[in-house]
């Protein structure tokens, strides 16, 4: 008999717990599905004609933006859940169990990814209903979903860190909702990069949210794959490595 459980076995059990917990929290569904749908509909009403008049194919451009935005919404719950687990003391109990020490991190990520998957699929279906096409075929459509989830994982690991640092779950939730707004507004998501002031343009162009949105658009057929996908992968994988390492350390110290 081994002294500790396996990472995947324990992670899966804790992932099941995270999914059950999400499914029973109406606020989670709101963030993962209803808000993104609302944004999708509103942006179509407000911006579609303006952008099409400027020659942009808005049916292709908007869904990746809303998917990335939805990945933020789903990840924000993660900050709340981590802080809530600290408050209830269940994190300490997990740590006193003979399980793999990173299993709680894996479990939480599985829960976050399940919400993100639902969200990304719903928004993409809505996009297809309003004219979006995967012009490079279904393999690239899967790559699109995979990249969206990779981005979701990076953000949710980052949000988890807020959950470890915040004094209360409520504080965690409000801190977690802060970085999203500047990152998504100052990106290629809603306005072309060229429209930003010159001094801001390089930041807007190369920050992770823009890079990910551009790569998602490219996998669906708009833009060059080679210019966008490697950069997006580098950003997402880099953030995942850094945030996961910091998250494991924070978990070790949570008592």
């Amino acid at each position: 008999m081994t002294a500790s459980g396996t990472l995947l076995g324990d992670g899966r059990v804790l992932g099941g717990r995270a999914m059950l917990r999400s499914a029973r929290n109406p606020a989670t569904i709101l963030g993962a599905v209803l808000f993104p749908i609302l944004f999708f509909v509103l942006f179509n009403l407000v911006m579609r004609r303006i952008m099409e008049a400027r020659g942009f194919d808005y049916a292709q451009l908007l869904p990746p933006t809303i998917v990335v935005q939805a990945m933020f919404f789903t990840a924000m719950s993660s900050a709340y859940y981590v802080a809530d687990d600290r408050r209830s003391g269940i994190i300490a109990r997990f740590r006193s169990l003979p399980i793999h020490r990173s299993a709680p991190l894996i479990g939480r990520s599985l829960g976050d990814l399940s919400r993100a998957t639902v969200s990304a699929v719903v928004i993409t279906a809505l996009g297809i209903a309003t004219g979006m096409r995967f012009e490079r075929g279904w393999v690239w459509a899967l790559a699109y979903l995979g990249l969206a989830l990779l981005f979701a994982l990076a953000v949710s690991l980052g949000m988890g860190l807020i959950g470890y640092a915040a004094p209360t779950p409520e504080a965690a939730a409000s801190i977690a909702s802060t970085p999203y707004l500047p990152l998504i507004m100052l990106s290629s998501g809603f306005a072309p990069v060229e429209d930003f002031p010159d001094w801001l343009e390089p930041i807007v162009r190369y920050q992770p949210v823009s890079v990910t949105i551009d790569a998602l658009r490219a996998t669906a057929g708009t833009g060059d794959l080679g210019d966008t996908v490697p950069l997006a992968l580098a950003w997402c994988v880099g953030l995942i490595i850094v945030f996961a390492a910091l998250g494991s350390r924070a978990l070790e110290r949570a008592a």
Binding site: S4, R21, S88, A92, F94, R95, S96, L97, P98, I99
Partner: protein, 310 residues
């Protein structure tokens, strides 16, 4: 005593400027209920957190069920279960789902975890609440489920960190019975509490901690004895005659006269002495309103030794 049970030697733990543990040493024999008693902030929970591998000590060592908490944390975790100060359960899950979760995390298969959960719900009188979410549970039900969650695996050592804090007297009595049953099964239990009565009721031995140090240890009766024997409290009908009472009885040892209470306390008195005391007071024509024997309580020990009011 061998290597099982718990041995703690010179534990030191600092948090920044604060020294939470300043060299804590004690042992708990296998099958013993050891009460860790002390005021808030004395270092009880820090001690439990070090012993349950949640915190690394800065100095000193500890073995739990024969395993070193620093070098063999995984083995220690296999031998222990921790019931924290706050019932650490998932509020969104039902009682049975919580127990099944902890069963799976202790390596049971899905069906075995479920079967064990049903058994524990039965034992802890939670069958009716099994399918209700924990968020709807009362304080007493949570603590019972919390305790049940510590027993999904048959661990030899249990840490109960203030298991009855905030419970009403009936729920507390129920929980006490459950702890006694756990001891009867041969488990070693470390019980932290600020309730002296709780330690008196449950603990075989008590370790009193204050300011991160062990102040005194012993059985509850040892400790009470150390606070002095029985004393006799005399209350005359006329408080004006207190000094007269004191003069009459001052051959019985150092008396204390409590003017505000209208009483005189005579140390080291046996029941057999009472009639002689009454007789002497009667001969002097002093009417007695109340005469009683008082045993020292753990409160006396606690207040004597911790020095601050709790």
């Amino acid at each position: 005593m061998g290597v099982s049970g718990i041995q703690v030697s010179g534990l030191v733990k600092r948090f920044g400027e604060t020294t939470a543990l300043a060299g804590v040493t004690f042992e708990a024999a296998r099958g013993e209920v050891l009460g860790l008693l002390g005021p808030n902030g004395a270092g009880k929970t820090t001690t439990v957190n070090v012993l349950s591998t949640l915190l690394r000590p800065d100095a000193g060592s500890a073995t739990v069920d024969g395993h070193d908490v620093v070098t063999e944390p995984a083995e220690v975790r296999r031998s222990i279960a921790l019931t924290g100060q706050f019932a650490a359960l998932d509020e969104a899950l039902t009682g049975v789902e919580n127990l099944a979760l902890f069963g799976r995390l202790r390596g049971l298969s899905g069906s075995a975890a479920r079967a064990r959960a049903d058994e524990l719900l039965e034992r802890f009188d939670l069958v009716e609440a099994a399918d209700g979410r924990v968020s709807s549970y009362s304080g007493g039900m949570r603590r019972r489920l919390d305790l049940a969650a510590s027993l999904v695996d048959d661990v030899p050592i249990l840490f109960l960190d203030e298991p009855t804090t905030g419970l009403d007297p009936r729920s507390r009595a129920t929980l006490w019975d459950m702890v006694r049953d756990l001891q009867a099964e041969g488990r070693t239990i470390i019980l932290t509490t600020q309730y002296l009565e709780e330690a008196d009721q449950l603990a075989d031995r008590i370790v009193l901690i204050d300011n991160g140090k062990v102040v005194v240890e012993g059985t509850p009766s040892d400790l009470k004895r150390s606070a002095g024997g029985q004393s006799c409290v005399v209350q005359p009908v006329d408080p004006g005659r207190l000094d007269e009472v004191a003069k009459l009885l001052d051959d019985r040892g150092p008396l204390s006269v409590e003017h505000d209470l209208g009483t005189v306390t005579i140390p080291d008195t046996e029941a057999a002495d009472l009639s002689a005391i009454l007789q002497r007071l009667g001969q002097a024509g002093i009417e007695v309103a109340d005469l009683s024997l008082r045993r020292p309580t753990l409160d006396d020990v606690f207040l004597d030794l911790t020095g601050d009011s709790t």
